[in-house]
Structures are given as structure tokens and as C-alpha cells.
């Protein structure tokens, strides 16, 4: 359904942050009733552009036109008043409040100074019924699944009568079944006249539902095409600006069969911050020279499992054996000395000390050892030498004295990898190792992991990126609500089977669970 006047027109929007030009004279048009897919690499400027449209950022230059008249969107309040709603990549929810409170916040029905709870419940229940969401308006958000939480996010926009709905990477945390129902919903909304901007790096999905696809690269819109006119590969090329070969890593089987289990987890149970079991009686083995992928929707116990393996969180029952030695009650520093290494999921918060130098970050695991530390005093020269060689070997674009926070995401990841590998570990746990990295850095990391595998390291990759897991793993474990619900071989499984497992179904189940 196209009308002549575009709903939203973006002209010449420019926005710069220190060191990076996020949006470079962007032009974009959105019509009512269409789904505009917006694709591009990380850092291409998509999220920034959306934040400008939603009033969370102010452009340095350029204009916005809403229904033909010029507007200046200076706050989310204003955006919402115009009829723009946004479902963010990282949910903006209040876990301790209930669904209704989350949805109506900011536009609460009132009774004098009092919050008119009853009316709020009524309105939200109506909305839930209208879209068939199957949510309890009084349910506390903290207790909801990720898919349900996303529905709450959607409700926020729908409660306010959106005309333009922006979704930023909505399917990143959903199972294939949930993705399907979401896409169907989007098509229904579009059919009813709502304009939708869908940001996603799942090109297949975008091509399925979008009526138009815009490609952003390095802050500019480089293409605006119809899905019928392009293939996935062509889109990827436009995104990166060069030929991208995906899935081209050498998958040679190992020369010798290595069967020796290096990391054994037995009956591990770990509590989360609220005292409830996040990891429930988990058992698995990691062998020499193999990569095990741990798949699962985020928030099903992966973080707590990794924390227990590393020693940051205490397990209440079960055993962890490293090379036969029981490390369940051993401190993190001793575990590392025994051969455990980890690339944490959050680079900046868990991986490095941002205000410290590259050299200081590199020796956090080694500073007690001999060449760097004599009788408690640090040997600067040896540390610097080590830093220089690590920088060279891992292609980190920095100097030993550079502060870690000044490095790009890819370089920080290289720094973390350099540090972790410097202890020649037996086991490496990699948590979303390529999240937020551009295509080149991603490939680099994947290559390195495959090399380590070939040389006999046991690697556990925890990720929500199914493509990554399918590419790297020899075996794939699926975790759901803290339990390993299935083990599959990446070459034999299908996305549907994986999705089912991630949602909690058992292998071999014929009927698929759907959310309406």
C-alpha cells in the first residue's frame, strides 16, 4: 500500500561521534504500509540513524520530514507523539515491574496523582487480546521468556498507536519458530497500514518480508533495492564492499582421532543471582582437538555456566574436572594455571581494564610469573617485550602504552585472545567471540579458533549466532532453562530441529510449538 507522500523522509542526516562518522548525509524514505529492510555491517550507522529518528540522538546536519512537513525530533517523547515506536536490540524493560507497568510507563492512566492500575490492566489486556499475544498483563517481566519480553517491547509501541515501527535486530535472540511468528505479525501490521523499518543482519529473513531493502555501509546508504532483484550474496557484497566468502573455513577432519577428554563437567548445578538454579545438573565432556558449540537463547544459563567453569561463580553441586583434576572448588587463578582460558562475552566489562594500557592488560594472567615479577616487583622491560611480541603476533593495532579503551572492538578482542593464549591453555572457553565485530575480524577469529583446534586445544564456544556455531562446531549442545536438552551434529541438523531444542522441545517431536 503506497501513498504518494512518504511517511518519513530522511534527508542528508549527518552525525559524528569522536573518531567516527556514524551517518554521512543519509537519505532514506519510508512509506506507510511497507516493510523497509535496513541492512549493513556493525558500525555501518543503522542504529545511530534509528536513534536519531526516535529522538535519542540529535543529528549534526540534515532534515527529517514527517508526512511531508519538516520536523525536529528532539526526544523520544516527541517521536512517540508523532507515532514512531521503537523495539530496541537490547530490551529497554523494567524487570521488577509487571507487563502493564512496562507498557504504559510514560502514558499512564491516572486518577489524580494516583496511578489508575485497573484501567491500565484493562487497556493492556485489550491490546494483548487484539494481537493474540498470550501474555498475562500482571506478570512480572523478570519471569518472562525472551520471546515474551520482546512481545512486551512490541506492546509498548502498539499501545501508543504507531504509524512507524522500528525494529532493531529483533530476531537475534529468537528461535526459528519465534522468528517466523514475528515476521508474520510484521506483515499483518504492514497490511494494516503501519510502516516498518526492520534492521537485521539475517539477510534471508529480510528478503522474505521486506518490500524494499536499503543497504548501509560506512554511514551512507549505498543501495535501495527490491528483494526480488537481489540475492543474499549480492546484498552481502554491497554491505561489505567486496566479495565475501562465508562458510569457507577448512573443515578437515583431524589426522588422528583424539578422544582424550580434557574438560569434564558432571552434574553441575549453579544458582543465579536470585538464588534459583540457572544451570541444572549439566553434564558434558570436551575433548582434545574439538570445538563444542553451546547453543541456546540468551539467558538460559549460559552465562552462569561459564562463570562456574571459570570460577567467578560457585557451583552448588557437581564436579568440574580439568585433565582429570577436580577444579570445582579451586580459585580462578589456579584454574588458569592448570590450563583454562576464557574469552569473556563482554569485552569492555569483563575482558579488559579499559583505563589500563595494552601491556598492563596483557599480563593480567601472567604478572605473578618469573620473568615479569621478581620478589613482588614488576620488571617493566620484560613486560614491554612481551607486549611488543604479542602485538606483532596477533596484529593488534596499538602500542604497549596505548590505553585499552582507545582500541577498536576488533583490536580489543585480539588483545583478549592474545592474553588468553599466552598461557598455552588446554581448554579455551569463548563466549560470543565475534559479537559486534565486523566481517573481517569475525573471519580472523574463526580462523584462529580452527587453527587452535587443529593443534589439539579443546574449545567451548558459547554463542547465540547459530551460523557461527554451525560453522565452527564438531558437536553442538543445546541448553534450555539450564539443562542440556540435546546434542546434535552440525552437519546433520536443521534450523528447525535446533530451534525446537532451543525452545525446549525434545528431538524427534513432530509437532512444532508456536507462539501465536
Amino acid at each position: 500500500m503506497e501513498t504518494n507522500i512518504p511517511l518519513l523522509q530522511v534527508r542528508g542526516i549527518t552525525k559524528a561521534f569522536p573518531g567516527v562518522l556514524a551517518n554521512d548525509h543519509v537519505d532514506l524514505t519510508v512509506f506507510s504500509g511497507e516493510i523497509l529492510g535496513l541492512v549493513g555491517e556493525n558500525g555501518a550507522g543503522k542504529t545511530t540513524l534509528m536513534r536519531i529518528i526516535y529522538g535519542l540522538e540529535h543529528p549534526d546536519a540534515g532534515e527529517l520530514f514527517w508526512k511531508g512537513s519538516k520536523v525536529s525530533i528532539s526526544s523520544p517523547q516527541q517521536a512517540m507523539r508523532l507515532g514512531i515506536g521503537m523495539v530496541h536490540q537490547h530490551f529497554q524493560l523494567f524487570p521488577s515491574l509487571c507487563v502493564t507497568e512496562n507498557v504504559v510507563l510514560g502514558n499512564e492512566p491516572v486518577f489524580g496523582p494516583f496511578f489508575n492500575r485497573r484501567q491500565a490492566y484493562r487497556k493492556v489486556a485489550q491490546l494483548i487480546e487484539q494481537f493474540g499475544f498470550e501474555l498475562d498483563p500482571k506478570a512480572v517481566v523478570r519471569a518472562l521468556s525472551v520471546g515474551q519480553q520482546q512481545k512486551v517491547e512490541l506492546l509498548k509501541a502498539l499501545y501508543r498507536r504507531v504509524e512507524l515501527l522500528i525494529l532493531d535486530e529483533p530476531t537475534a535472540v529468537l528461535t526459528p519458530q519465534e522468528v517466523e511468528s514475528l515476521l508474520k505479525l510484521l506483515q499483518e501490521l504492514a497490511a494494516s497500514g503501519i510502516a516498518i523499518i526492520l534492521i537485521s543482519h539475517k539477510l534471508r529473513e529480510v528478503l522474505t518480508v521486506a518490500s524494499r531493502v536499503a543497504v548501509m555501509r560506512k554511514g551512507r546508504v549505498v543501495a535501495d533495492v527490491k528483494p526480488s532483484d537481489v540475492t543474499e550474496a549480492q546484498l552481502a557484497t554491497l554491505m561489505v564492499g567486496m566479495e565475501v566468502q562465508r562458510g569457507s573455513l577448512p573443515q578437515e577432519p583431524l589426522q588422528e582421532k583424539r578422544d582424550k577428554p580434557v574438560l569434564v563437567v558432571q552434574g553441575l548445578t549453579v544458582l543465579n543471582d536470585r538464588g534459583r538454579p540457572a544451570v541444572n545438573n549439566v553434564t558434558f565432556e570436551l575433548r582434545e582437538g574439538e570445538i563444542i558449540g553451546l547453543a541456546g537463547v540468551e539467558g538460559n544459563g549460559q552465562q552462569e555456566l561459564v562463570e562456574a567453569l571459570v570460577g567467578v561463580r560457585e557451583a552448588i553441586t557437581g564436579k568440574i574436572l580439568l585433565n582429570g583434576k577436580d577444579i570445582t572448588r579451586i580459585s580462578p587463578s589456579k584454574r588458569r594455571r592448570l590450563g583454562l582460558a576464557v574469552i569473556p562475552g563482554d569485552r569492555l566489562k569483563e575482558g579488559v581494564v579499559p583505563s589500563a594500557t595494552v601491556a598492563e592488560n596483557l599480563i593480567t594472567v601472567k604478572y605473578r610469573q618469573l620473568p615479569y615479577n621478581i620478589a613482588g616487583i614488576l620488571r617493566e622491560r620484560n613486560i614491554k617485550e612481551f607486549a611488543v611480541s604479542a602485538i606483532k603476533e596477533y596484529h593488534i593495532i596499538a602500542e604497549p602504552k596505548t590505553a585499552a579503551r582507545n582500541l577498536s572492538g576488533g583490536n580489543i578482542q585480539r588483545l583478549v585472545i592474545a592474553r588468553e593464549l599466552s598461557t598455552s591453555p588446554l581448554v579455551l572457553i569463548a563466549v560470543h567471540p565475534t559479537r559486534g565485530l565486523d566481517v573481517r575480524s569475525t573471519m580472523e577469529v574463526h580462523e584462529r579458533l580452527m587453527n587452535l583446534r587443529a593443534r589439539g586445544m579443546a574449545i567451548l564456544v558459547v554463542s547465540t549466532d547459530l551460523d557461527e556455531l554451525l560453522e565452527l562446531s564438531d558437536r553442538l549442545l543445546v541448553i534450555f532453562r539450564g539443562t542440556i536438552v540435546g546434542e546434535v551434529s552440525p552437519r546433520e541438523t536443521t534450523p528447525e530441529e535446533l530451534g525446537l531444542l532451543m525452545l525446549g522441545g525434545t528431538r524427534g517431536q513432530l509437532e512444532k510449538k508456536f507462539d501465536k
Binding site: M80, L97, E101, L105, G106, F114, R117
Partner: protein, 298 residues
């Protein structure tokens, strides 16, 4: 050991703590650790007493207490919201500053050093509750200054406000996830400032109860850590008004016990005076230990 006396003294000692703690709940729920409550309380105690003595008008005195506390709270808000100062250090600085300023002002206004004991002072009216007065033990619940009863009213007021008004909902939302609140169109700064001012109002009243309620004087630093004890009460309750009240009563009890002990048994005053502070530390440790037990985090 007189139960009535103990009850009475507990209620009296707990009242200023309660008022300050309820104010602190607003701050707690909006996500700001307010260590400046001590300063706000002290300002209220000083202004309340001084203005009452000067104008012979209690209402003006209470108003003065509230306004002076709000002044401190306002400065705190400007520092932390406007100038992005660190919560703890700016609060600590305000505490030092307020202690010194009240001493200075006390000298300037009244010529006294160290303590100001006005000759003829209107004190807060006492409320006699006939029902209670008749019954032996319950007698202890009657006859207190109005702010003591006001403290209990403040409990209701605070709980109502936080959990049943629109502003209360917004305050809790901003405290839980400021980014999400901003995305929903709320002004984080404005809500935080409002919460801080509400906190200051109650802290001012708490200070007024301290100086005007029973003691009827002002001494330098007379809050003696009560602002922090109120903070501990909030932590004890994890922000729930009911438990906060309980903790205040507990601390009030030990505070009262300490002075009675000196009378009843021959306990050296210094040792007795240590009790309330040790109680707070013990309670904090217990509460946190219980939390950790539940969470089992390494």
C-alpha cells in the same frame, strides 16, 4: 527495667530515624545512594531550632527546617545531576561543609559555640491519646511530640506515594533502568531531582524532631551518624517500607537502651554509647550474609 519507659524511648529515638529513612527510600528507589541525608538532617535540626527560637513560631521553624534541608538537597542534586559529580564524595563533602556551616551560623546568629540551648523555647506540641493513656502498657504510646506520630504518618505517605502514584512508578522505573526510562520519554534528571527534594523534605523534618522534639537544643554534629543509620535501615529492608520501619525501631531501641543502661546498671557511658553503632554494623552484616546465602554468588 520499665517496659513503658523502654517503649517510649524507642518510639522517640526511632522517630527521627524513620523520617529520614522514608525520605531515603525515595532516593533509594530512584537509584541514588544518598549519603547527604546526614547533612540534610543536620541542616533541618539547626534551622528548625534556630528559627523557632527566633520567631517563636513552630510552624515557621518546621518550614525553615524543611527549606534548609531542601537547600542542601538541591546543592547535592546540582552537583550530581548537573555537574556529574561523584555521589559519595560530593555527599561526604556536603556533610563536612554542613557541620562546619551550622557551627559557624550558630555562632553568628546566637553567639554560642558548640551548643545552643535557647532559654525559652516552644517545643513541639505533644499529643495525648486518651485511649492509650488509660491502659498501663499502652500509655507509652501516648504523649509524644507530634512529629513522632508524624513519622508513622510519613510511613503511610511514603508507601502510598512510591507504589500507588504515577510519580512513584516513574521513580522506581528510573531507578531500575534509567536508559529504558529515557527511551519511554521520561526525563531522568527531573525525576531524580524530585525524588531528592522529597527525600530532603523528610530529612529536614527528621532533623527538626531531633532538635525540637525532646532535646530542645542544638549541638554541633548532633546527628551523630543518624543519617547513616537510616541508610542502614533502608539497606536492611532492601527498600521495602515495612522492613525499613522495623529496622528503625530496632536501632531506636538500642539507642534508647544505651542511655537507660547508664542509669540502671553501672555501665561506663562510653561502652554503652558504642552499642547503637555496633548494632547497625551487626545488622548490616547479617542482612548481607543472608542475601549472599540466597544467591550463592562466589
Amino acid at each position: 527495667m520499665n517496659i513503658e519507659e523502654l517503649i517510649g524511648v524507642t518510639l522517640r529515638q526511632a522517630a527521627p530515624l524513620m523520617l529520614v529513612a522514608y525520605g531515603g527510600l525515595f532516593s533509594y528507589h530512584v537509584g541514588v545512594i544518598n549519603i547527604a541525608m546526614e547533612a540534610e538532617m543536620l541542616a533541618g535540626a539547626f534551622a528548625g531550632l534556630t528559627i523557632t527560637a527566633w520567631t517563636n513560631n513552630l510552624l515557621l521553624g518546621l518550614l525553615g527546617a524543611v527549606i534548609s534541608a531542601m537547600l542542601i538537597g538541591g546543592i547535592f542534586a546540582i552537583l550530581t545531576e548537573g555537574l556529574r559529580a561523584h555521589l559519595v564524595t560530593s555527599a561526604l563533602g556536603l556533610n563536612t561543609l554542613t557541620t562546619a556551616l551550622t557551627r559557624l551560623l550558630m555562632w553568628v546568629v546566637t553567639g554560642s559555640r558548640g551548643a545552643f540551648v535557647p532559654q525559652r523555647l516552644l517545643s513541639l506540641p505533644r499529643l495525648q491519646i486518651p485511649i492509650f493513656k488509660a491502659v498501663p502498657v499502652l500509655q507509652a504510646f501516648s504523649g509524644h511530640s507530634i512529629l513522632v506520630y508524624g513519622a508513622w504518618l510519613a510511613w503511610v505517605f511514603t508507601a502510598l506515594w512510591l507504589y500507588h502514584t504515577r510519580l512513584g512508578l516513574r521513580i522506581r522505573a528510573v531507578g531500575e533502568n534509567p536508559e529504558a526510562a529515557r527511551a519511554m520519554g521520561l526525563s531522568i534528571k527531573r525525576i531524580r531531582v524530585v525524588a531528592q527534594l522529597l527525600c530532603a523534605i523528610l530529612c529536614g523534618l527528621g532533623g527538626a524532631q531531633l532538635s525540637l522534639g525532646d532535646l530542645r537544643l542544638f549541638t554541633s554534629g548532633m546527628t551523630a551518624g543518624k543519617g547513616f543509620i537510616a541508610l542502614a535501615a533502608i539497606y536492611f529492608g532492601r527498600g521495602r517500607p515495612v522492613f525499613t520501619t522495623l529496622a528503625c525501631l530496632l536501632f531506636g531501641f538500642f539507642d534508647g537502651l544505651q542511655s537507660r543502661l547508664q542509669l540502671w546498671i553501672n555501665v561506663p557511658p562510653q561502652l554503652a554509647q558504642m552499642i547503637p553503632f555496633l548494632t547497625v554494623v551487626a545488622v548490616l552484616i547479617l542482612v548481607s550474609w543472608r542475601d549472599v546465602r540466597k544467591g550463592a554468588r562466589a
